[in-house]
Every structure is written in structure tokens, then in C-alpha cells.
Amino acid sequence: MRNLFNPRICGVRTSMLFYLYWRRLRSHLAQELLAGSGIAVAVALVFGVLVANTSLTSSAGALIQQVIGSARLQLTARSEAGFEQQRAAMVQHLPGVRSSAAILRENVSIAGPRGAKAVQILGVTAGIVDLGSLDTKNFGAGGFRFSEGLILPAVVAGAIGAEPGSLVTLLAAGSAHRVRVGAVLSGSLFGALTSSPVAIALLGVAQHLMGLRGRVTQVLVQPRPGSDQLVAGELRRIAGGRLDVAPADNELRLLDQAIKPNSQSTELFSAISVMVGFLLALNAMLLTMPERRRFVADLRIQGYDRRQVLLLLSFQALVLGVVASLVGVALGDVLSSAFFHRVPTYLTAAFPIGAKQIVHAKTVLAAFGCGVIATVLASLTPAFDLREGKAVDAVFRESGGRGETISGSATRTLGITGMTSIAVVTALVLIAPGLTIVGGVALALSTLLLIPAMFAGIARALPWMGDHIRSSALVVAVSELRATSMRAVALAGIAGLAVYGSIAIGGARGDLIRGIDRATAQYFGTADIWVGTGGDIFNVNRFEPGRTAAVIARAPGVASVRSYQGGLLDVGTRRLWIRARSPRDPAMVEASQLLHGDLTRTNRLLRQGGWAAVSSAFADERHLHVGEAFSLPTPSGTATFKTAAIMTNSGWPPGTITIDSNDYSHYWQTVDPSALEVSLRPGVSAAAGRRAVMAAVGDRPGLSVRTSGERDRQSEASARQGLETLAEISTLLLIAAGLAVASALSAAVWQRRARLASLKIQGYDSRQLWRALLLESAITVGVGCAIGGVIGIYGHALAGRWLTLTTGFPAPFAVAPTQVALTLTLITAVALVVIAIPGFAAARVPARAGFQD
């Protein structure tokens, strides 16, 4: 009778599979733990990077979905001044509309006892209940009534130290208001809302706080089934060319566009991390290979056939892979929340992006699968011993290395493929810069492909080196590397990939920071003092100037005061940064950011009116050249501008449009500034000028007074913070790679103790052996670093070109020798320092171990 609970697979009982693995664990626990740790670290690295990459869009997407509820269309304002609430009321009565809700969304700051936080206030009506927006169905379950005061998500309340019932200060439109906190949203009932930078209030309250009585910025609309076209048409009629009609979730597309360059960079890093992770796991498994090969030989001697051996190997690999990968996913979760999860400030100024870490099932599966596949692939290497014609006990008679080496012809083929790949990448990105990301991954692969050839070159150089360097360590070290074994290639590959990724992405990041710093300095350099709403890095939040400008103008040391206007404008899939400068500004555009057009002429044309300087990505999208006209949707209808110059995006990925403030006032129908630019008289220091302006502004806590240097530093910090995740991934990648190389080298060295002992019997002393081991490690890591470094610099150049041409970022290319040197030193030092101790111990192996082989 068949045993249902203990079936036979290929003639082996399931219980036997478990029993043999249990025996393996008991006899080789340390090796299995080492391999498992390697796989877990690899999976953690992959998982952490993938989660960091998807959380940004996912958390914002979750909030946007919560806000829109069941709405499918929206009517939106083209400026933060919004539109009349009566129009929103008209929407509800349009044919085909099932329900609608008017919303006022504005950027504000909230300050509490623990600090201040920039948030987006959502002024809502009872209409959102019909749409199911903001998880209103759960409000009752939350234990509070949706009525008065501000409703704050837990993350905001926590950051500013607010509690239900406490008073907080809301800074909006240049004014400060004391508002009571009605409730704090926490727990799983409210999903992404609890971790989003928003504040919810009744529409009337929000309008009062913003000084926008009777105005809204958005109407969410849920058409009846099949009425979407009809409703969209009706909405366009109401919009009258002055408002936008778009899908309710249009903000998701705008966000995707805004974070595209960031996502693409992170994707490249993710790809490299996946490769490093895969190699790490593979390496970890290779450490146990000699012992697994002996296990295979033992089984075959005892009568197991090939299928059964394969079954056993696969089963053991699967168990190890599954357990280690699960641990890796858990580790990666900690890694991503501790290091990678940070929302760039420049994005939160334009989108309500929360700090919620969102993990998709496919992310878990990708990381988990990567670990299991690497484990299974590596553990099947002993299956080479099952080939026809190979003696059952061949492993016991080998002098070492066989079956693990890469043949000379394979080395040549790989080298040629690597070089060809670099040539193809070069041609590809020259023709189509958009393919640079693919090229980046191909370059990473080339790094791996060239390593065996580099090892072969070093081995070939041995006679020359041996005649120039008298070193007992040299022959021993190089002989081990001569094998160009899979393990040595994998070790150097990890180092190479980490260095490549770090230098390519780190270099591009450095270019970007330098470019943005230069743009920022010139942008704020038009005034000595900036007066704005504070926390507003883009100068897009308008405020009631009252008599402030006139009072400042009379302050001691002040030469002139000019109104700066600006806002964010949704055009297609781009949330553009509109910058409107006073014609009296010394410069209308940043000289360093000019790509096409003459600086003097551009300044003159912009002051003249009707002209605009546009970002290259926007210009490319519209096929614009200098001198050509384009239309722009504005709150007063479609405006036509001529292109005065084509610029970089000044650090804002969707792009910028710079115009004269008179044009802005005309088309946006407002004279409210979003900042005041103050120029000081000659000889007046920035600090003295700042004090004088502060005194003139008086008691207006909603306004902040900062020197251009302070604004510059604030923006630079924001830009750096936005790119911080890349730096952190890069550093962690390097450290993980350094440790992986060191641990794998250590284990490999440890397995060679018998051979080291034999060298001792031949007359080598411990110091000579230690030197040989360190030299071997240095060469292994050095090969990886050298190839990774050279290809990394090339990748850096390509990435810089891509940033400038495809994304429109300011990224002047410059090799950073210090960064390259630091990267190489870091990974080599970590590897050598870590291997020095086990290497020392291995070198002190008693010579009699040579007899125990």
C-alpha cells in the first residue's frame, strides 16, 4: 500500500530527504549557516532596494486613490487661487453625474509644540462621503465625528507633537492661525492617510484659513455608469478653457513624470543590486561546493543513481534557499525602513507623498525568487560530477580546482563579448540617449565578462612579475588566481559591480548636485534677502502682501523690493514649475542653465513680455526651438508665448517655464507675490539687511525672512536629500560587497589549509603564507575594482550625458578622482582588513594538517 504521507520521489522517500538534510545540518552546520547568511544578505539587499524604489509612488498612489474614492473625473484649477465654488455646485446638477465633491487643496505649514511640518490642507465637504473618499466610511469606527477643527494623520500629529483637542498654528498665505486639532487618524482603518503629509478640514474652515472664501481648487466627479464621455464634455463646457478636466487620478501620472529620473536611477541601482545579490548568494553556495561534491560521490558509491542525487541536491538547495531567502526578506524590510525610506522634500512640496512603506507581493516574490534561484543554481554545480564517463569517485582523486575553472577559450569568448557589449552600448546611447539605462545594465554585465580575461592577463604576466618582484608570495598567490575559477570571478565580480555602480551612479549624482547647486545659487542670487511663506522651496505659495512690500522698501539699508510670482501648473503629464520674475531683476534666467539661446537676448526678451524660457524636456515634447511659439493653459485661458531660450530643468524633473511677472499677473489674474526679493544698498551686510527686513515685516509669523545664502542652502539641502537614497544604496552596496568578498575569501582560504600546510612542510613560514594570502586577496579585489572603476567612469560619462539630454537636468560631467579613490580604497580596505584575521589564522595552520588530507 502506498504511503500517502511519505511518498517516494525517484525512489527516495520524502522522510529520507528530510533525514539526510538533518544529518547534513548536524555535520556541517557552520558551512550551512555561512551559505545561508550570504544568501540572506543578498536577498535583503535586493529587497531593500526594490521596496525603496516602489514605496515612493505606491504611498502617493495609495493616498491619491484614497482622496478620489470612486471619482473618475475631476475639474481642477490652474492656480492655487482656485475657482468659484458656484461652478462646483453646477457640476452636481450636470447630466450623467452621480455624485461630486468640491475640495480646496493648498500647501500650508502646521506648527505644534514639537516642531513644524509642511502639509497639504484638504478642505472637504460632505460630498466626499458619497464618493467614499478619505476612507470616510471608517471615520465612525475611528471614534470621532467629522466636524470641527483639523483632522491630522498620525505621522503629522506625531511630528509636531499635536493631540486631539490641542491647538496648533497653521501658517497659510502669509498668515498664522490657531486651530484646534479635531482628531488624529491612526491605525490600519485609514491606510496611507495616516502616514501622509495632509491636514483635513471642512471646506468652510479651509477657505477661511487660506483667505479664499467661496473658492475651491478641485471638484471630484463620479459619473453614472457609461456617462464618462458625456460628463467630461459637460465639465469642459463649465471649465470654459480656464480650468482643466482630467481623469481623477491624473496626479499619479504627474507624479510618475516627476519622479521618473529618480526612479530610473534607482532602477539601474536595483538591477546592479540584483546582480550583486545573485552573485553573493551564488558565492555563498560555492563555499560549500567541495564538501557537496564529496557528498555526491559518497552517495553514488553507496548506489544512488543520478536522478536521486539530483533530487537530493535540489531538495537541500531548496530548503536552504527558502529559509535563507525568508530571513533575507525580513532583513531587507528592516534595511529599507531604516535606511532607504525617505521622501524627497522637493517632491513633497508638489505632491502629497507619505512616508508609508509599501511592499508589493511581486517585490517579495522577486527578492525571494532571486535568493532561491541563486541557491539552486549554485548548489547544482556538483551535478557536473554526474556526467557520463566521469568516475564516481573522481572528486577524491583530484588535486583541486577541476570542474570549477573557466577554460581559456571560454575566457576569450567572454572577453570578446564584454568588449563587443561596450562597443554596442556606446553606439546605442549615441544614437538613442534614452537607452542609457539599458546600456548601464549592459556595462555592468561587461564588467563581469571581462574579469576572466583580466585574471588570465595577470597569470600571463607572472614570468615578467616574477623577474621584477622577488616574492615568495607571488607564485603562490598567482597560482590560485590562475585557475580563474568561478569563485574567483564571482568574488572579483561582486567587487567590480559594486565599484562600477558606485562610481557610475555616484559620479552622476555628483554632477547633478554640482549642476543644481550652481542653478540654485544663480536663482537666489538675484536678491540679497528673500521674504516668503517659509518651507516653500519652490517659491510657489502666494501670500497677501498687504503693505509689507512698501514697509520693507523703507527699511534701513534696503535699495529695492520686487515681487516674485510663481506656481505649479499641470500641463499634460507634467507639473511644471512656473517662475515669474520682476523685469527689474538683475537676471531673468540662470546663466549656467542656458542650453540654447543667448543670455543677454533672453533677459531682454523676457522683460519685454510674451516670451518664455522653457526646459529642454518640455521643448522636446513640443518640438520647440528658440523663437518658436507655444501655448500654455492658464487660469485666464490659453496664453501664447514665444521661446526665448531653452534651459535645463533647474533640478525640477518635470521642467520649468520662466516668464516676466507682468505676464504672470496678466494670465494668472493675480498680483499676489509668492516671494519678495529685497536688494540691499552697497555696503549693507546680508545679516544686517535681514534684521532690518525682519523688523519691517513685524509680527507676521506666516512669513519668513532669509538671506539668499540661507535660501540657497535650504534648496541645496533639499536637492541633496532627494538624492540621498542613491548615496545610501551605493554605500551599503559597497560595504555589503566588501564584506561578501572578505567572507568568501576567508572561507576559500580556510578550505585551502591542507595545501597551505603542505607549503609549510616545503619550508614556507607563516608570514610568507599570510603575505601570499593577502596578495591573492588584493589581486582578486583589485581586478574587480580596476575593471569596475574603468567601466564605472565610462558609465558615469554616459549617465551624465543621459541626465542632460534626456531628463534635462543640469549635470556638467567631471570625473571625481577623490570619490573614485575613496570607493576603491573602501572596498579593498574592507576586504583586506576582514580577510587579514582568518588569513593569519589559516597561515598558522599546523604543518601536520598536510598529512590529514
Binding site: Y764, D765, Q768
Partner: protein
């Protein structure tokens, strides 16, 4: 002319259960220049310990091991290493060749450890490989050599520094009888030719007839001396 002298040497090892294994227990033996002596015995009888003592890899608890009149028991690790590098040629059962390294470079390993340039070390190693019949296979790696050829590379490595003492641990263990006999004849001839003492540890019963003397070791004692054989003629 150097000789190896073991005088009343004692070496014990602790074993499981608190017992002590008397690996070598008061053995005295002299191996004269040009003499090749075999040591038989079952596993654990102390044969390898004897080799370790002769190679200054361990020190005796009592007695003394003298080579060329020098007491090896008092050598530091570094002095011991220098002694093995310059004075001893050691041949293993499992060869211990470096993988993926040519036979020639394997043979140079002791010379480069002495600080010779690689080209000079190769120049000195090549005649030994030729003499051992590996002249045309000197660039082959161990993986491409037969077991017998690997053993000859190991012998070349042991002899390339022109040692004054030859020690061999089961050098025929991995060879067929014909190759084993050839190897032993070679080692014996080298001892005779160069007038150096040689000590062989083996299980190979056929070795006796090729040896100048042969002993059996049991429980740490030289229990009997196998019939002496006539010293083979020294090759001039």
C-alpha cells in the same frame, strides 16, 4: 656528509577518553648518508610522527632528533621552516601540487620561497623535470598529468633545492605497482647518488626489496628490523 639520528625519542598524544597514544616511545635510529630506510607499520603506529619529528614539524617530549649533528627539537618556527626549505626534500602521498599551475612552476615553489627570481628558479628546476621524464610536459598543469606524472612533479619539487635529507610519506599510495616501484627506485637512486639519508614511510610490501633497511613500527616501538638488504650500488 650528513646523517639523521633519532635518539630515544618520545612523543605522546592525548586521545579521546583521557587516554594517551604513545605515537613514538623511545625510538633510536640512525639513517646514514646514502642510505634509504623504510618504516612499515599499521595506521596509528607512529610512522608519520617519525617523519614530522625528522622534518622539525614537531618536537619530541624526550630524546633528540639530530641532523648533521644539530638538534632539531630546539628550532624556532622560522628556523624549522628554513631547515625544511634548505635541507629537506619532502614527498607526499597526495602530492599537494598547486592546481592550474604548470609542472615547472610547481617545481620552483621552494626556490622562489628562498627569494630566487622566477626565471632563475625555472632554469634550475627544468633539468630535474627532464631527468624525471617530464621535459615535454613541464608546461602542463597537474590536472592534465597522470597520477605517476604528478608524483614525479612532487619529487622534482622536493629535490630542486638539492636537499640533504629526503623524507617520503607513502609516496606510492596513489600509484599502481609499476609506477610505485619506479618511484621508489628513483628515490633510492637519488639518495645513493647524492649520498643523502632518506626515510620512507610506507605500507607497500614490495618496497622492502628496494630499501637499504626496513623496520616495522608498532605501538611507538621499532618492534623488529626487517632483514637488511644489501645496499644498492651507489650510482656514480
Amino acid at each position: 656528509m650528513s646523517s639523521l639520528e633519532l635518539r630515544e625519542i618520545v612523543k605522546h598524544y592525548p586521545s579521546g577518553g583521557g587516554e594517551t597514544v604513545r605515537a613514538v616511545d623511545g625510538i633510536s635510529l640512525t639513517v646514514s648518508p646514502g642510505e634509504f630506510v623504510a618504516m612499515y607499520g599499521p595506521s596509528g603506529s607512529g610512522k608519520t610522527t617519525l617523519l614530522l619529528l625528522a622534518a622539525a614539524l614537531i618536537a619530541p617530549e624526550a630524546g633528540s632528533v639530530l641532523f648533521d649533528g644539530r638538534d632539531l627539537g630546539g628550532l624556532s618556527e622560522r628556523e624549522g621552516a628554513r631547515y625544511r626549505l634548505r635541507d629537506v626534500g619532502f614527498v607526499f602521498q597526495s602530492f599537494h601540487l598547486m592546481p592550474n599551475t604548470s609542472a615547472l612552476d610547481n617545481a620552483t615553489i621552494k626556490l622562489t620561497a628562498e627569494g630566487l627570481k622566477l626565471s632563475e628558479a625555472r632554469r634550475r628546476a627544468r633539468p630535474w623535470l627532464e631527468r624525471l621524464g617530464l621535459g615535454k610536459r613541464s608546461e602542463h598543469t597537474p590536472e592534465r598529468l597522470s597520477m605517476g606524472e604528478r608524483q614525479r612533479v612532487a619529487i622534482a619539487r622536493a629535490l630542486v633545492n638539492e636537499p640533504r635529507l629526503l623524507l617520503a610519506d607513502e609516496p606510492t599510495g596513489n600509484l599502481d605497482s609499476r609506477r610505485g616501484r619506479e618511484t621508489l627506485e628513483l628515490l633510492r637512486d637519488i639518495c645513493h647518488e647524492r649520498a643523502i639519508p632518506g626515510l620512507l614511510v610506507t605500507h607497500d610490501p614490495d618496497a622492502k626489496e628496494l630499501m637499504d633497511r626496513a623496520y616495522t613500527l608498532r605501538d611507538g616501538h621499532l618492534t623488529d628490523s626487517v632483514d637488511s638488504v644489501e645496499p644498492a650500488a651507489i650510482i656514480s
